[in-house]
């Protein structure tokens, strides 16, 4: 028997979410959304349990998780940083801002700092083009950014 280990509360929550969607394979994406909302990320054992509950191969679930950029198997930082790389932000210098975030944090895109405080990601157009270039830390939007503002912004969270 191949075993998948999960804590009781986690397993219970996942089963509840799957059941709320009728344990239907067609609801896989909705289930993944909700489970990720609950735990912040989708580690292997969580996907295994979802696959069992929805009665689909776990390879299929993994195929879905790795297809959509919204789903992640790595826990996000305490303060997830998202740099808008939409066209409007790009032509107004978002790349330089991103480079500065990378340099200050010492991490690349899709990574989390060793202390778990920050994670860095790019996203496409938050719809705040008037404020370009834009970055989000958690829910907070920072607009009209220049590279020299990055250090001070990060200091707000240290």
């Amino acid at each position: 028997m191949a075993r998948v280990k999960l804590s009781e509360s986690k397993a219970k929550k996942i089963k509840e979410i799957c059941a709320a969607y009728g344990n239907k394979a067609g609801e896989a994406i909705n289930v993944l959304h909700q489970v990720q909302g609950e735990f912040g990320y989708l580690p292997a054992e969580v996907q295994e349990l979802i696959a069992l509950e929805l009665n689909v191969p776990v390879a299929t679930i993994y195929g879905i998780v790795t297809f959509y950029s919204f789903f992640t198997m790595i826990p996000k930082g305490e303060h997830p940083i998202s740099i808008c790389m939409g066209t409007a932000c790009y032509v107004r210098g978002a790349e330089k801002v991103l480079d500065e975030f990378k340099r200050q944090l010492g991490i690349g895109i899709g990574e989390t700092t060793a202390d778990g405080k920050f994670s860095l990601n790019c996203l496409r157009c938050v719809g705040a083009c008037g404020l370009a270039p834009v970055a989000m830390i958690g829910e907070k939007v920072y607009g009209r950014l220049t590279p020299d503002m990055v250090k001070d912004i990060l200091n707000e969270y240290k």
């Binding site: 067609g26 919204f70 789903f71 066209t87 330089k96 008037g130 590279p147």
Partner: protein, 597 residues
């Protein structure tokens, strides 16, 4: 709305929300409460006004005063001066950049003068979280008219006659699409609203859903009646939490009012709507991919035919339209196809919403009649290029589109003219670029996006776009050769010709159109190792002119990597090996001594 003496409309679009428009609302309400005016003056958080450049926007009705760049602390002054004393707060009014005069009514602003708001008709005017406001503005009258006066075939005829075409990119005639779906018989059919806006420079669908969600719900209901579907699905990006929130409220309210559910308007027509969430995949804007994603699968496109109208969601006939297309439908029904088809050009009727962005003075969301010229958009609505720089190009259609240049400035904009010019309408991103934008780098930017968003199913898109990107990377690093340009052209042509879906087939457009319009720039990068825009980092060097440098040390102190050396009061030098070309020194130098070579 009648019971209030005045309405204060505060923009609740994403841009203005990011600039604290919620706090403005709270402060306004608090001040009004203090003054005992909360019964007389209503504060509404609306959808996007469009003029994001000058946000947050606050508008006072009925005198139509348009305040720009309002801060939360301005609430007190607005209430005390404008609302109580009837004196406009002039410092918050828009200043006409040419005449240098204050303009208080948005109708007289360059930004709004040439706009015609049909799809955005309610955005910025009604409270999107209150169905009564929508109803008060003729909401749900169109669906009532359809259900009680029209047969489904008549509804389709009306839409066909209007000339409405899909606003999501391809421009397929909407009425024809409905007709095909209506003719396929099945026990269950579906109506799907594509709200998976993915163009990295477009946010009109989001604004409509945030500002006027009921118009989409009403249109989908009309669509359901026309084709014989009882179920509707809205496929929306999970990254749009505010739009999701407002849609959920709107659907709930519509159900409570009996506008969704069983026996709508006492007829035997049933219709209801569910939400489905996208999870970050641009390709899901393609309708077959979208359908697979709604079925809980990887959002990979499949070959058409069969078209969704034949076999779509759960293999049932499915009609997919995008948000902006739907937003046009109720008003077409109410005002009639013959009203709508008088707007626009011969083959492109009505208006189009564009997200105007880039190096332009008035960034924002605009809606203009088809047939307007780029010149009108850029110079009249957009207020010209930022910092008085020179116009170079405008990119439309996002990653699927191309660049238009000086010579296209007076071409009337419609579906067919844009394609003829090597671009496309796309979902309506419009990014204006000046001489500081490198066209090779722009092509690379879009390809990076396509490579990231390619589903990987077909080889031309999966590998071909990666190879194109690699060639462009080489060119922008000064490592390209002329053979690269030849390969790039062949690859672009073959990918366009062979890729499986719309994403792949249009992905070479940014490359092809920049090559066609800016061939010299490509050759310059390859032969002279030069980027005239000064945008390709590897091809430039920051240097300090010793004749201009006074040795103030400001650059050296601000350099993040300590690449600048020099004694106080003597000219400084940049060590090119350490320099990361971040541009901080240029910004900090007060003597214009630093330049890019």
């Amino acid at each position: 709305m009648a019971k209030y003496k005045m309405h204060v409309l505060v923009c609740g679009g994403t841009g203005c929300t990011a600039s604290h428009s919620h706090e403005i609302t709270d402060n306004l309400k608090a001040v009004l409460r203090d003054k005992g005016l909360e019964e007389d003056i209503q504060v509404i958080l609306t959808g996007c006004f469009g003029f994001c450049e000058k946000g947050p926007i606050v508008k006072i009705m009925p005198d139509n005063t348009f305040y720009t760049e309002v801060k939360p602390e301005d609430a007190k002054e607005i209430v005390e001066e404008h609302i109580i004393k009837g004196r406009k707060v002039t410092r918050l009014l828009y200043t006409d950049p040419e005449k240098k005069e204050h303009v208080s009514d948005s109708k007289h602003m360059g930004f709004y003068k040439k706009q015609l708001r049909i799809a955005l008709r309610n955005c910025g005017f009604i409270d999107p979280e209150n169905i009564e406001e929508y109803i008060a503005n003729d909401g749900y009258a169109a669906v009532a008219k359809c259900l009680t006066e029209y047969t489904p075939a008549q509804v389709i005829d009306e839409i066909k006659l209007s000339g409405l075409r899909g606003r999501g990119g391809g421009g397929f005639p909407t009425g024809m699409k409905w007709e095909i779906a209506s003719k396929n018989h099945a026990d269950q059919k579906y109506v799907v609203c594509n709200a998976d806006e993915g163009d990295p420079g477009a946010f009109m669908d989001r604004s409509i859903l945030e500002g006027d969600p009921h118009s989409v719900i009403e249109a989908m209901t009309i669509n359901g009646y026309a084709i014989g579907a009882t179920k509707g699905l809205i496929y929306i990006r999970a990254e749009y939490p505010l739009a999701i929130h407002r849609l959920q409220i709107a659907i709930k309210q519509a159900r409570e009012y009996g506008l969704l559910g069983k026996n709508i308007f006492g007829t035997d027509f049933d219709f209801d709507i569910e939400l489905r969430y996208g999870a970050g995949a641009f390709v899901c804007g393609e309708e077959t991919a979208l359908i697979h994603s709604m079925e809980g699968k990887r959002g990979e496109p499949t070959f058409k035919p069969p078209f969704p109208a034949q076999s779509g969601y759960l293999q049932k006939p499915t009609n997919v339209n995008n948000v902006e297309t739907y937003a046009n439908v109720p008003i077409i029904i109410l005002k009639g196809a013959n009203w709508f088809n008088k707007i626009g050009t011969e083959k492109s009727k009505g208006t189009k919403v564009f997200a105007l962005a880039g190096q332009i003075n008035n960034v924002g969301l605009i809606e203009v009649p088809m047939g307007i010229t780029l010149r009108e958009i850029i110079y009249e609505i957009g207020g010209g290029i930022k910092n008085g720089r020179q116009f170079k190009a405008v990119q439309t259609g996002g990653p699927s589109g191309g660049c238009l240049t000086e010579k296209h400035l007076d071409t009337p904009i419609d579906y067919d003219n844009l394609i003829a010019a090597g671009s496309m309408m796309g979902s309506g991103g419009m990014v204006v670029m000046d001489e500081t934008s490198c066209m090779v780098a722009i092509a690379k930017f879009y390809l990076e996006f396509t490579c990231e968003e390619s589903c990987g199913k077909c080889s031309p898109c999966r590998i071909g776009n990666k190879r194109m990107l690699e060639i462009l990377e080489r060119i922008t690093k000064g490592q390209g050769c002329m053979e690269d340009l030849e390969n790039l052209k062949n690859l672009a042509t073959v990918i366009k010709d062979t890729a499986l879906c719309g994403l792949g087939q249009t992905s070479p457009n940014p490359v092809l159109s920049t090559m066609n319009n800016f061939w010299d720039e490509y050759v310059e990068h390859v032969k002279d190792k030069k980027c005239r825009a000064g945008a390709c980092k590897s091809l430039m060097q920051y240097v300090i002119d010793p004749n201009l440098c006074v040795g103030c040390t400001s650059c050296a102190r601000n350099c993040p990597v300590n690449a600048i050396q020099g004694e106080k009061k003597t000219p400084h030098v940049i060590n090119a090996e350490i320099c990361i070309k971040c541009g901080t020194c240029i910004e900090k130098c007060k003597f214009n001594a630093i330049s890019i070579k």
